[in-house]
């Protein structure tokens, strides 16, 4: 049975061009939508019929409105947008309704990403890196069961990025290749040692060997604009709280579990965690190469969390 979805934008003081871009994407997703210009208008729009599911796209400065609304009804989900200063804000994921916290700088809205986000908001079909890259992207896949296969995956990712360099780009793409390899390495370590209940007591610097049933799947691809890496484990033990804890990891206090996810998040632009509890967890990491490393480093970040427990079929 499908349910009507209504999208409400509450982005006061945002540039009209961004509202316009988001509006176009919402219409493309086939959703009804409305723009609230004030807190009163926002409350009034959401106090209507309870037949619909609501998707709220809201400015990060209006968290109180969101909390107020969460007390009144539960059939809604929310996306928090911020202006990219600081680069990322993840506290909003503590709100049960919020599944994405996205930094936008200037007038840049990645319309493809936004469309995917809208479609995944109420869907059970949340998995797959393919959604985020162009249709004919060629992916390379690896199955990790031990140190040798892990090393192969990491070095292959490094080589695949480094090989994108032209004669004048070697230095730059080597930096990117390092980042990509670091990301894969950390996510594999996390999948092997943090997610696998059988290896929870093992030190991460010990050699490992796992069965095919427990193997980690790694996938990477580049569509000419976005480079994507996904790492999937067959355990599904990631929770919203655990993800927040990992991404908030404070190196000034300790190094330990969670450090790897933090290191990976620090190196990419978009991180998407997809979970089917008890079955599988998929981390999708996306980034775009820039002509200047400085632009790469300064790009605002987005963090998204989807769980099949929190989704339902809707249209």
């Amino acid at each position: 049975m499908t349910t009507l979805v209504k999208v409400v934008l509450f982005l006061p003081n945002w540039r009209p061009i961004i509202l316009k871009k988001i509006s176009v994407v919402v219409r493309a997703a086939g959703y009804e939508f409305a723009v609230a210009k004030s807190s009163e208008e926002f409350s009034s729009m959401l106090s209507g019929s309870t037949a619909a599911d609501y998707l709220i796209i809201i400015d990060s400065n209006h968290q109180e409105e969101l909390k107020k609304f969460e007390k009144l009804r539960s059939n809604f989900r929310s996306v928090v947008l911020h202006n990219g200063k600081p680069k990322y804000l993840i506290g909003f994921l503590e709100n049960k309704s919020t599944f994405a916290s996205i930094g936008l700088s200037e007038a840049k809205v990645d319309t493809r990403d936004f469309l995917i986000l809208l479609r995944k908001a109420f869907a059970k079909n949340i998995f797959g890196i393919e959604k985020y890259l162009a249709r004919d992207t060629r992916f390379t896949e690896f199955v990790v069961t031990d140190e040798k296969s892990r090393s192969l995956a990491t070095s292959s990712v490094f080589n695949s990025v480094e090989s994108l360099a032209g004669p004048a780009d070697c230095v730059k793409y080597r930096q990117y290749a390092n980042r990509a390899a670091e990301i894969v390495d950390e996510l594999i370590l996390n999948a092997v040692f943090e997610s696998n209940p059988n290896l929870a007591s093992k030190n991460t610097y010990e050699p490992f060997k796992i069965s095919n049933e427990q193997s980690i799947k790694v996938k990477c691809g580049y569509d000419g604009e976005t480079y994507g890496i996904s790492v999937t484990d067959p355990f599904g033990s990631l929770s919203r709280e655990k993800l927040i804890k990992c991404v908030n990891f404070d190196f000034h206090k300790e190094i330990g579990p969670g450090a790897g996810i933090k290191l990976a998040f620090d190196r990419i632009h978009r991180m998407i965690a997809n979970v089917e509890p008890g079955v599988r967890t998929e981390f999708v990491c996306l980034f775009q190469f820039k002509s200047r490393m400085r632009l790469f480093v300064e790009e605002p970040k987005a963090l998204q969390f989807y769980s099949t427990d929190e989704s339902k079929d809707a249209s």
């Binding site: 230095v171 370590l189 190094i255 400085r294």
Partner: protein, 167 residues
């Protein structure tokens, strides 16, 4: 990861990961310390491509105890990011003599890595918010710093007294 000790210099190459054991790190640092008498141990990571959290943890478990007087030289870009994120890198008897930094030529779209000396090329100061790093001219091409000084030199800002003493 491979390691070479020449006098008081310790040079690593490869990848810093769980493949390096703590006792190996301790033995090379001890050897360099024996060789260096009153000098500091110079540690060069410029030939190390990258590191993971396991390798970093192992390294820090040895160096943050303060048993070895270490001066990092030619610190690569990936390690600068670690210095700025992880306080433990500066715990113990640690100084930094020179670092690598990315520079970009807008005319040719080329990136290059240059080595900068702390205290000479990089003035030691409390903050770098208004600091503009000069353009470097190499073979007739002008390279701008491809980093934000206030972010890239955070490790100096956070340890300003130490850098003032050693500059």
């Amino acid at each position: 990861m491979e390691v070479k000790v020449e006098g008081n210099e310790v040079r690593f190459s490869g990848v810093l990961d769980e493949g390096i054991a703590q006792d190996v790190i301790e033995s090379v640092l001890k050897e360099a310390q024996k060789n260096c008498k009153d000098q500091r141990i110079l540690v060069d990571y410029s030939e190390v491509k990258r590191a993971n959290s396991c390798g970093i943890l192992t390294w820090l478990q040895v160096t943050s105890m303060g048993s070895y007087p270490i001066t990092y030289v030619n610190v690569p870009v990936w390690l600068i990011a670690q210095f700025n994120m992880i306080e433990e890198f500066m715990m113990g008897d640690i100084t930094i003599s020179s670092i690598q930094a990315p520079f970009y030529c807008p005319d040719t779209d080329e990136t290059t890595i240059l080595t900068l000396k702390v205290g000479e090329d990089i003035p030691v100061q409390e903050q770098y918010d208004d600091f503009e790093f000069p353009v470097q001219t190499i073979d007739g091409k002008e390279y701008e710093p491809d980093f934000e000084p206030s972010d890239y030199f955070l490790f100096i800002t956070f340890n300003i007294e130490r850098f003032r003493r050693t500059a």
